[in-house]
């Protein structure tokens, strides 16, 4: 039982789900006969993590933020990060006519992030603070406005925000549809990881191991066959959301995302540091149990 979101950053999940749908399941073939994969689609991290807690799924693709939260909340008891999935794809997009060059230029400006305390939000705050701006949760020298992705686009178009720090496909959409310029491109920051419930890992380590291997193989295959991968993604997105995504948008987003099965240890740790700095976490949790290679 595996979960993922209908997002381009969850490419492995999308592709594998689509293959299962076609009856030529990627994981099914590699996990040995008799293994059935049930796919679940989530629209947000907390739901996916709740499903892990409720033990209605065993594994899921999810952002590092919710994964880390869930780990902290359960005192390291219930979730394990078993592999990376995608890095990059997040960027700071600014209004073209605002002439914003450095963090210091953002004094008095409004920056939208997808969600209070999520990866981009924290990166944004850390980035601003790094250049001496004072940022608090509800204000400071620059206003960091947690705003839902679709609304960001709208507000950006109306020029009601000066910049947006967000992920694909929104970065590409901001570029294409509102002429946004990319100021900061987070190339090696993790955006998606593969998480497993600790119980599943304990009880079926063999299976988990095979799954992680298959996941890595899939990631390699994607790097070699980008066109086919994008076609599968588009088909799956259409099936799951009944809404079509333009192929060139997928292609443009694709360029900015690096798919990797490597567990993004460094990125998670620096995320942790940033969280500490921007005051979202009071004490750093012990991350030692989080990473576990099956």
């Amino acid at each position: 039982r595996v979960g993922h979101f209908p997002n381009i950053t969850h490419a492995q999940g999308l592709i594998a789900h689509n293959l299962s749908r076609q009856g030529k399941g990627w994981f099914e073939e590699r996990l040995g006969p008799g293994t059935k994969i049930e796919w679940f689609v989530y629209s947000a991290g907390p739901s996916a993590m709740e499903a892990i807690f409720a033990q209605s799924i065993d594994l899921t693709y999810v952002g590092p933020g919710p994964a880390l939260n869930a780990y902290t909340k359960s005192n390291g008891a219930e979730v394990r990060l078993i592999a990376g999935s995608a890095n990059g794809g997040a960027a700071l997009v600014v209004q073209p006519d605002q002439n914003l060059k450095t963090a210091a230029d953002f004094r008095g400006k409004k920056i939208a992030t997808p969600q209070l305390g999520n990866t981009q939000d924290i990166s944004c705050r850390a980035w601003l603070m790094a250049s001496g701006l004072k940022i608090t949760q509800l204000g400071g020298d620059a206003q960091v406005l947690p705003t839902q992705n679709p609304d960001q686009l709208q507000l950006f178009q109306q020029k009601r925000v000066d910049a947006v720090w967000t992920v694909e496909p929104w970065v590409s959409r901001l570029e294409r549809e509102s002429g946004g310029k990319i100021l900061v491109d987070e190339k090696d920051v993790a955006t998606t990881v593969l998480v497993s419930s600790a119980k599943f890992l304990r009880e079926q380590r063999e299976l988990a191991k095979k799954f992680a291997e298959a996941h890595a193989a899939l990631t390699d295959w994607m790097a070699k066959n980008p066109d086919e991968a994008q076609k599968l993604i588009r088909a799956e997105l259409l099936a799951e959301t009944r809404s079509d995504m333009a192929p060139d948008l997928i292609a443009q987003s694709w360029k900015r995302i690096a798919f990797t099965a490597e567990a993004p240890r460094a990125s998670i740790e620096s995320f942790m540091q940033n969280s500490l700095k921007s005051g979202f976490v009071k004490t750093a949790p012990d991350l030692s149990k989080l990473f576990e290679k099956p």
Partner: protein, 255 residues
């Protein structure tokens, strides 16, 4: 006939205003799509079956959830109005719980039902049932006491009194409560469909959500129109006849 024409005219004017707002370019066409593009979306989605399928899934869930909500809420409401103890416990709970947004029920639903159709129904039922309880309770409390007195002296007690006197006497209130309950059911289901994604069925809530996620405003507005239409149809099919019957029987609504 004249009424119908006037009403149609009104809606045509509304659409025309919308059209010219878009034409005037006050708002970006991405944010406010034109009536045509919404129409195109609707035609397209209707052609490939998405719309009917999603509507079918949603309406089925809605009816089942609403029906369960009423089956639970109505008797509970009768109990709260009948017994001080139930009033002080369930009644107080209902008052508090009816203001809870549906999102609160989702973790519990997942916990108890897992990722199933039942979880979704649970959210809808929780969104509906308390308002039905309260409407029923209020309805019963507002019955002119002479009806209950007349019934009692003819020997009506217990179940007979509740089903043959109290319920029909509070019907005007109940129907108004049921209408509100229906709106609650809708809104809860939309929340449930957005938060509990399950594979057993793809409903209008999902369509709305993903339309929004992809900033496909013509999809969002198209789905909104479908929801509005269903709301209107339900009123005409489910509630209007009952209301007409009531007004006819009670002699009210004449002005």
């Amino acid at each position: 006939m004249r009424r119908f024409l006037l009403a149609t005219l009104f809606f045509v004017v509304l659409i025309a205003i919308w059209h010219f707002l878009v034409k005037a370019g006050v708002y970006s066409p991405v944010l406010l799509p034109s009536p045509q593009s919404v129409g195109e979306y609707l035609v397209g989605a209707a052609r490939d079956g998405t719309l009917f399928q999603a509507t079918g899934v949603t309406v089925r869930r809605l009816l089942v959830g609403y029906f369960i909500g009423i089956m639970i809420g109505l008797p509970l409401g009768l109990f709260t109005s009948a017994s001080k103890f139930v009033e002080d416990t369930i009644g107080v709970l209902a008052l508090g719980l009816q203001t809870l947004p549906s999102v609160c029920w989702i973790p519990l639903a997942l916990l108890w039902f897992g990722q199933t159709e039942s979880a979704m129904l649970f959210v809808v039922v929780m969104g509906t049932v308390w308002s039905v309880v309260i409407a029923t309770d209020t309805g019963v409390r507002n019955i002119p006491p002479i009806f209950a007195r007349a019934a009692k002296t003819m020997g009506s007690t217990g179940l007979h009194k509740w089903t043959k006197v109290i319920l029909p006497a509070s019907l005007p209130f109940l129907v108004s409560g049921m209408k509100q309950g229906w709106a609650f059911a809708w809104r809860s289901l939309m929340a449930a469909e957005i938060y509990v994604t399950i594979l057993t069925g793809f409903g209008l809530g999902h369509l709305l959500h993903y339309g929004r996620e992809l900033n496909a405003m013509e999809q969002v507005i198209g789905v909104m129109l479908v929801i509005i239409t269903i709301g209107l149809l339900t009123d005409k099919i489910l509630f209007s006849p009952v209301e007409r019957f009531l007004h006819n029987r009670w002699g009210t609504g004449l002005r």
